[in-house]
Symmetry: C2
Subunit: 229 residues, 2 copies
DNA sequence: CCAAAAGTGTTTCACTTACACCCATGA
DNA sequence: TCATGGGTGTAAGTGAAACACTTTTGG
């Protein structure tokens, strides 16, 4: 193995694909760049990894700095290292994806110095660098993940209706689901806690609100239980 | 976003977990380090990423240089970036995993300057750095992958018996499978081509050899077909 | 009373699982 | 002829999929 200092080093960055879900719409958080290259263009929140911090820490820090997003589900996605992906110089980026509850973060966006905004996944603007490919990769990963792990709840408020949950799955998986079968299956897992509250301010019969029983899921998971669909 | 040259940069490496399958045993290829730190210890093949090459290229190059392994299935696994994972200085490593046909690579190992050897996954020596964790991550990934994509064939010779295939799955998934059900399922996919050859030099009835119909799989995959178990 | 979404069961079909014996071959 | 693994079918059970009407509520 060669010594590391014999060669020039690529720069190392992190970028985050932040997903939110709102009114049947899957959204991604983008920030407007204020520096070249691609100044003025939309891009994923991210930045360079500091010498003393882990990649996870770097991703969290950038997320906080650029978007105000705090407590989120965060997972490493893939590391992109094509030599020409940054026109200035060699930059390798460890991409992450995050799931946030829009109920917590609806206000954020234009809070920081930087301009940030949510875009529907089906109506993204042109983005800088290879970020379109990164977003695409993140979406595919989310589609895979949501089938066999209960990450969908990270995108919903703590209390939600079964219809909201179904719409979330339909949106992410780009499909439609049968209402009765969906409810049968999800309730059959006994991982939802029925609250005695109902949704408010709707012009029709109000649906019951449920919570996800995270602790119970963690317990079952350890015993080999598999969340599926 | 800060300019990259304001800060010291981590070094960037790649490491490969190379899997092979031999006589019912899942193996990993390790090399003996000749430099500090951990000189003399076993470690994953890998090295630093050069400034003009992609991560995939770096992984392939290191694999070739250190082990002679050429045509393989190669996929990025995860990027490990804990600040202290290398005692000398900050090194971030993009880990890959590779699947090779031991029938092609049985001879290799001690060919290069470096000492290389195959170890059973169930009987690994102590390894350098955080490589044990990387191997563990790779194994879990392989276990997940093998269920819903036909990567198992990358570990078998081009022609194989159904029993070999079953043993491969049993080994990777650490379980046992019912012979009749396994054969029914795998043959029912119509992705195996029955050759008119049989295995040689066995002290009992010789089993028929099959090939994996890769082209057909690629076609079906595009139409939405899902390989499963 | 109308519009809109909530909520609820049953039947059918496909797939998974469990299970045991005879056959072919080489030593 | 014996030991070793190769090769084969069926029945029962479980889970997925299809499917439509009544109820509640607010406007």
């Amino acid at each position: 193995m060669a010594h590391s200092y014999e060669y020039p080093r690529p720069a190392l960055a992190v970028d985050c694909v932040v997903f939110g879900f709102d009114e049947g719409d899957l959204k991604v958080l983008l920030i407007q760049r204020d520096l070249e290259p691609f100044a003025g263009k939309w891009a994923l929140p991210g930045g360079f990894v500091r010498i003393e911090e882990s990649l996870d820490q770097a991703a969290l820090r950038e997320l906080k700095e650029e978007t105000g997003v705090g407590k989120v589900y965060l997972e490493q996605l893939y590391t992109f290292g094509e030599p020409k992906r940054d026109p200035r110089e060699r930059v390798v980026t460890a991409a992450y994806y995050a799931l946030v509850k829009l109920s917590d973060h609806r206000i954020k966006g234009a809070t920081d110095a930087r301009d940030a905004a949510w875009f529907s996944i089906s109506d993204l603007p042109r983005v800088a660098f290879d970020h379109e490919g990164i977003i695409e990769t993140a979406l595919r990963r989310l589609q895979g993940k949501v089938r066999y792990e209960p990450v969908g709840f990270e995108l919903l408020p703590p209390k939600f209706t079964l219809t909201q949950l179904q719409h979330l799955y339909e949106t992410i998986l780009e499909t439609t689901l049968d209402k009765r079968n969906f409810r049968k299956k999800i309730l059959g897992m006994n991982l939802l806690i029925e609250t005695d509250e109902i949704e408010q301010d709707v012009a029709h019969r109000a649906a019951r609100l449920y919570r996800f029983h995270e602790a119970k899921y963690r317990r079952l998971e350890k015993e080999g239980f598999n969340f599926e669909l």
